[in-house]
């Protein structure tokens, strides 16, 4: 179904962090951007579609104009909003937002770090763009920060803090089908596997809470009202977001799942885990019976590699990219 293409070399190897790959497709310029986190640095590569031009950039996490040491970065992801795209970095120190090419930092939010270190780690993790004007970011305490994003400029403000989760946020995802009919806009996941489903607005509204079984949910997606969640047990579960009804459960991987992605136009699902495997699935919805089915399509083994990031490069799932711990390349696959 897929064959391997030429890999993209990156300046540093990928760190073992959940969802450690973000992809931004820029059709008007025939470019695709990729970001991969390495400890305290984000490696950004811009690749032209003809495969001839690559340019690299590195970003670090620190307060602007302050020469203090950098901190470890937990995640980097692009947030696509109608008016603009922003690159968001979350670290032990705080949250940074850049223009999509990483050239200018437009916003910095510092996390409250205690004077003397406590046993509980402090960091931000979990990034999602929601509807027209929000970017949500999760925190290790379980809190979720909702930022109000203007159509241009740096007048970004913290609009709300949602405190529903009690464990560290692991990942967040907004409805990606583009459908305006879906009630649920956002799903958030935490270390205990609990999932919260939200409706965005002036005040975000909690629609549903789906309990975990003390098993970490490391990656989550929301598509056509269905939550797709990947767990440390290697399982994938499909839930109806608003009701919490379990549609399907897959014993997908033999190790911790690190990344999930959905191609919204085709319903293809990508799962990647520490067991070296990337699997492609197909989701089908039957509105009449209100059911969602999942079928297995394809496997790809990245030998001797614990995969930490896997993303489709386009909305149909024609191509996908993969990163692995200690690997200094982005491996790419396209459909045959």
């Amino acid at each position: 179904m897929y064959h391997k293409e030429k890999s993209i070399q990156i300046k540093n190897s990928a760190s073992a962090l959940y969802n450690n790959l973000s992809v931004l497709r820029i059709a008007p310029r025939s470019l695709t951007y990729f970001t991969v986190v390495h400890a305290n640095v984000v490696n950004m590569v811009s690749a032209s579609w003809d495969g001839l031009n690559y340019s690299h950039r590195q970003l670090q996490s620190k307060e602007p104009n302050v020469a203090t040491s950098t901190s470890l970065i937990m995640q980097a992801a692009w947030c696509v909003l109608p008016s603009r795209d922003l690159l968001v970095l979350t670290s032990q120190k705080g949250i940074q937002m850049y223009e999509s090419d990483g050239s200018i930092m437009v916003y910095w939010h510092a996390l409250d770090t205690p004077e003397t270190p406590t046993a509980q780690a402090v960091f931000a993790r979990g990034i999602a763009a929601v509807r027209e004007k929000y970017i949500c970011v999760g925190v290790s305490s379980g809190a979720m920060l909702v930022f109000d994003i203007p159509t241009k400029g740096s007048n970004i403000t913290l609009a709300e803090v949602l405190e529903e989760h009690k464990e560290s946020i692991t990942d967040m995802a907004s409805e990606c089908s583009g459908s305006l009919e879906c009630i649920a806009d956002l799903v958030s996941a935490d270390d205990a596997g609990n999932l919260c489903v939200w409706k965005s607005g002036e005040e975000f509204q909690l629609l549903n809470k789906i309990p975990g079984f003390d098993m970490c949910c490391s990656s989550v997606k929301l598509w056509k009202g269905t939550v797709v969640a990947g767990y440390g047990t290697g399982q994938i579960r499909l839930y109806e977001a608003v009701t919490g009804i379990l549609h399907a459960e897959v014993s997908a991987h033999a190790r911790w799942i690190y990344s999930l992605d959905i191609a919204p136009f085709s319903g293809l699902l990508l799962s990647a885990a520490e067991d070296s495997l990337v699997r492609v699935w197909h989701l089908t919805q039957t509105p009449e019976t209100n059911s969602v089915e999942i079928a297995h399509m394809y496997n790809e083994c990245v030998t001797d590699t614990q995969i930490c990031g896997a993303k489709f490069c386009d909305g149909d799932g024609y191509a996908f990219a993969v990163t692995g711990y200690d690997l200094s390349e982005i491996i790419r696959y396209t459909q045959t």
């Binding site: 540093n12 190897s13 760190s15 073992a16 962090l17 390495h38 400890a39 203090t68 040491s69 470890l72 032990q92 270190p117 406590t118 046993a119 509980q120 780690a121 960091f123 464990e167 560290s168 692991t170 935490d190 270390d191 205990a192 003390d214 098993m215 970490c216 440390g232 047990t233 290697g234 399982q235 009701t243 009804i245 379990l246 549609h247 399907a248 459960e249 897959v250 014993s251 997908a252 991987h253 033999a254 190790r255 911790w256 067991d275 070296s276 495997l277 209100n290 059911s291 089915e293 999942i294 079928a295 297995h296 496997n299 083994c301 030998t303 001797d304 590699t305 614990q306 711990y325 200690d326």
Partner: protein
């Protein structure tokens, strides 16, 4: 990232160090070539083990480690581990310590990478504790210290969630990132590939609590299973076996962290760097904080005062001084194999000098300020 890595780092790295030293000291006893070498008796070996274990598992040292703090640099860790080794009558020169450190770190990296579940990091640590307990079993005081440390570890880590333990594991993996030193024992057993990367098996039992991949189950809105189908997995996994014991004693089941040197021949264990070796020259911005930690840890350690008669034992991990120098100089030469081969040399001058320097550390105040901190670092470089 995680603030609780240090205790596990020391137990596991320290454990690996003791495994290697134990094996080398035993090998020395059975070595055929007696020229140039002093003799390490059974008592000498036990004494070295007791001294190092006594220092590493002392309450004061463990108290420092158990405080929530970031994981510091390789440089700091190496310095503390060198000092721990020097808590005994043994002396290691910098080149030997470098090689020893590489071996220890690669072994621990392998264990952390292949750790089946994050929780099994504790079983790996307990494997190290179990073996260390064996090393000092004839000294009740040392056994008590190991037991007490073990209890504190159970208490501190026993309640952490899988997610928190995975964060700890991820912090360790960042620490080990980009280290691909080839270890001959690993290469021989096909645990490591020639390019220095570890082999990840796609078969065997799944970790405890995980289901064998291959099954899709679909449910109706009432929660009843309505359809079941299988998919091809591309691996050959079997069901998990029983879970290991997280108590003070018991079958750990997980084999990672056991003494892999006890079964092999007491010969050379080569380490070599893969062709593209990059040294990290970036300035360490945490230097001052790390020096403070270093000073506190050093303050907890007593130094074995070499007797007036001056018979200290210097350990080379290479067979001649010339090779020691060459090893220090070379870096990018990928065909250079360092043979780790301990020999004890009676070097009166070296041991008295070291004892004097070590004695100075014991008197160091809690917080060296400004230039004093820089002097400390300079002193380290001279070691």
């Amino acid at each position: 990232m995680s603030m609780r890595t240090l205790p596990l780092v020391f137990i596991n790295l320290g454990g690996e160090m003791l495994y290697i030293l134990d094996q080398r000291l035993r090998a020395h006893n059975t070595s055929e070539d007696n020229s140039d070498k002093g003799v390490w008796s059974e008592n000498d070996r036990k004494r070295v083990m007791n001294d190092i274990v006594g220092t590493m598992f002392s309450k004061a040292f463990m108290d420092e480690l158990l405080k929530p703090q970031q994981l510091y640099s390789h440089r700091t860790l190496k310095t503390v581990l060198t000092r721990l080794a020097h808590a005994s009558i043994m002396r290691l020169n910098p080149a030997s310590m470098d090689r020893l450190y590489e071996l220890m770190v690669m072994a621990f990296k392998h264990q952390v990478l292949l750790c089946p579940r994050p929780k099994d990091l504790l079983l790996i640590s307990y494997n190290h504790l179990d073996t260390v307990r064996e090393f000092v079993k004839d000294t009740p005081a040392a056994v008590n210290q190991v037991d007490e440390t073990h209890r504190r570890i159970i208490e501190t880590y026993g309640l952490l969630s899988e997610g928190e333990l995975q964060l700890l594991r991820q912090t360790l993996l960042i620490f080990f990132q980009d280290m691909h030193v080839r270890v001959s024992l690993f290469l021989k057993d096909k645990v490591q590939n020639p390019n220095g990367r570890f082999a990840l098996p796609a078969s065997g039992p799944v970790p405890h609590g995980i289901e064998v991949p291959g099954l899709i189950r679909m449910f109706n809105s009432k929660g009843r299973e309505v359809k079941r189908c299988e998919f091809p997995t591309g691996g050959s996994y079997s069901s998990s076996i029983r879970q290991g014991s997280f108590e003070l004693h018991g079958d750990r089941v997980v084999r990672l962290g056991r003494n892999m040197y006890s079964v092999c021949h007491p010969e050379e264990t080569h380490t070599s760097k893969p062709p593209s070796v990059k040294t990290d020259d970036s300035p360490n911005l945490l230097a001052k904080e790390e020096l403070n930690l270093l000073a506190r840890l050093m303050g907890c350690m007593k130094v074995e005062n070499v007797q007036r008669s001056g018979t200290g034992f210097r350990i080379n991990l290479f067979s001649t001084d010339k090779e020691e120098e060459e090893a220090g100089a070379s870096g990018a030469d990928d065909s250079m194999f360092g043979v780790i081969n301990i020999q004890a040399m009676q070097d009166v001058q070296a041991s008295t000098e070291l004892a004097r320097i070590a004695g100075e550390f014991a008197d160091l105040p809690e917080n060296p300020s400004g230039s004093k901190g820089d002097d400390l670092l300079a002193m380290m470089d001279d070691l």
